[in-house]
Amino acid sequence: MLTGLAFLAPNIVGVLTFTVFPVVFSLTMAFTNWDLTQHNRFKPDASIEFVGTDNFEEMATAGESFSLDSKFFRFLGNTLFLMMGIPVSVAGSLFAAMLLSRDLRAGGGRRYLWLLAGAGLVAGCAVMAVLGMGGAAMVLLLTGVAGGILVGGVTLGQTFYRTLFYTPHFVAGVATFILWKKLYSKETGPINQALDPALGALASAVNTAPAPVVGALPWLAGLGMLWLLSFALGRMKRMWLDGDLGLGAAAMPLALLSVPWAVLWQAGLPGAAGWLLPIGAGGVALVHGLRAARAQDRFPGRSADGFGSAFMLATLAMTGQLICLGLVIALGRLPAMAADGLEPPGWLNNYSYAKPALMVMAFWAAMGSNNMLLYIAALTNVPPALYEAADIDGARPFDRFWHVTWPQLAPTTFFIVVMATIHGLQGGFEMARVMTEGGPAGATTTLSYFVYQEGFETGRLGFASAVAWALFLLVFVVTLFNWKFGGGYADD
């Protein structure tokens, strides 16, 4: 007993002082009105008082009544919006891992690859010659970088590419946030300098193209939205029939799939698209539902089965649908906008573009992250016999992926998504502090930045603690969820 405690002592003293005590302290604070502007040495009369659940009520109200427009819900919305980048990043990591896990060696040794690298360099020089000598120095620079990467990859193989992919994640932090702030700069940033001529060309193309062609573009995006819905529902139906997906586990993915349509309903598209698209979606859902209901021989499964797969599928399809919806809206406005000439936005200073801009940057840092390394490790553990069996059955590449790779990776995916969700809920502080200070007009203020603002800028310690605890509850729910549905993966 004594020996045990003696070994434990140095650690437990620290944990008690800097973790357990603060937790109790913070929980108490959350029910007080402690405010540094009211309670300080210049106002000896003011005392800190318990105010019951006032702080929590304030979070949920704007003005007098309960409202989703309260700061807390708005910033929670921002946080969730930014988290929609997670499935895309995870898909990117998986894509990168699958590329890196392929056999990079050519038949007959490396000499073919050297030929290839040489051909790449020659092609680069040719591009330079075609583009003329005006931008020659820059083309030479970029060709040199690309050629260098190719040669490095041919000589050093997988490790070389892996290092390059991982670098953005490894160095991500204040330094890269400052870098991206400059990349996004409205006037002098390279992103807008590259976009400006491209948008100019697009504007003149739209202005000169026949009206029906331009008018058809939003419909194409709408069709894409319907196709994604149909694809996801079809896959889930298949899984359900095979007994791989239970009804209990399907509930949340189905809800996710309907989110873009709720957004569409809210946005109220003008014209025929406003009612044709929802009807199309209803039709698609009905067809899949009926087919599933009328199927004769359903393989029985448990209700909580297959949550991870369906969840990932649904989040990806949801994000894709939302992107398509954005395109529907943007392409619908395109003719009117093109008439005045298109200009690139001031990304971080623009209310609508600030969040997507941050998400693009986050994707840059997250694609080659630890998740990619985990996927690489998991891919090496997939038994080759499964692929051989699939080949004998005549599986196409997509089937190989969907029926072999994806299920084998399910535990890894589940782990990654849960961790990313927990981090995502608490995330966004650094980006907001360095790049946007939470703006414009609170567009990039996440919950963690909110806690910082209230706790360290305005000094409302009680309220800040309450927000932090609300955030904890959200994380706790995700963790419970993990236990409930992650149990099936624990043995792997």
């Binding site: 434990l8 931008g135 992919f165 490894f170 706790g455």
Partner: protein, 286 residues
Amino acid sequence: MPTTDPRARLHADLRKTAGASALHIVLTVVAFCLFLPFVWMVMTSLKHLSEVGLESWLPGERGFQWGNYAQVLEEIPFIRFYVNSVFVASCVTFLQIVTSALAAFSFARLKWRGRDTVFLLYLSTMMLPGLVMMVPNFQIMIYLGLVDTLSGLILPAAFTAFGTFLLRQFMLSIPASLDEAAEIDGASKWRLFWDVILPLSRPGLVTLGIFTFMGTYNSFFWPLVMLKSEHKYTLPIGLLAFDSSAGQSTHLLMAAVTMSVVPMVIVFVLLQKQLVKGIQLGAVKG
């Protein structure tokens, strides 16, 4: 089935080469896109102020301005930021490894009443977001008079439940028969810890060390609220301060950013084998 027909072999070789070539090209394109921001960063850091913001990424007639780097070092105590960051990260890593290893040994290899209850308490604190602790911890730091000191950065980060958990899981995988053998030899618990368990836990210690060092080196929230005076700034805080004071001099800013990114890339290239293993191990255990 290996074939001896030279033409068939050539055919197979060519097909494999075509596949590998396509793969190399895709990988190169992806890596190139990921790398473009860094190219722009380095090139801008070498530009003259009057050429910043021009379309060409390369420095123009004024030539390469290597002096930008010297100018940054003159304007802010950049080296000092490095030293502070490395000092804080090293101290935290050392303290955390020592305290976590001792605690983990107690949880994994010793038997005492209430052990599992205490461990459960440890586990439950791991679920709490760090954010919950920030506000009260800052009040504790005011009380202890540690605001704006490097000790104030080191102390709260030095004792974690996560490190203890990671090492406990690792120590549990070491065979229990070693303990019995040590006991028969008359070794004390301390000898068992120091001579048997600790050397065998090395991969776990390295993993924890790397995680802790990188995490502390990059930490932002806590140093941001704690540090007030420039000579105590860690690298991220120093960069942020430089961004707000010299935000318009993009070339100097990029020089500073380059100086903070390049050493990390070098460290990563040197340590990547350990790192990759550590991450893959940490995810399995954590």
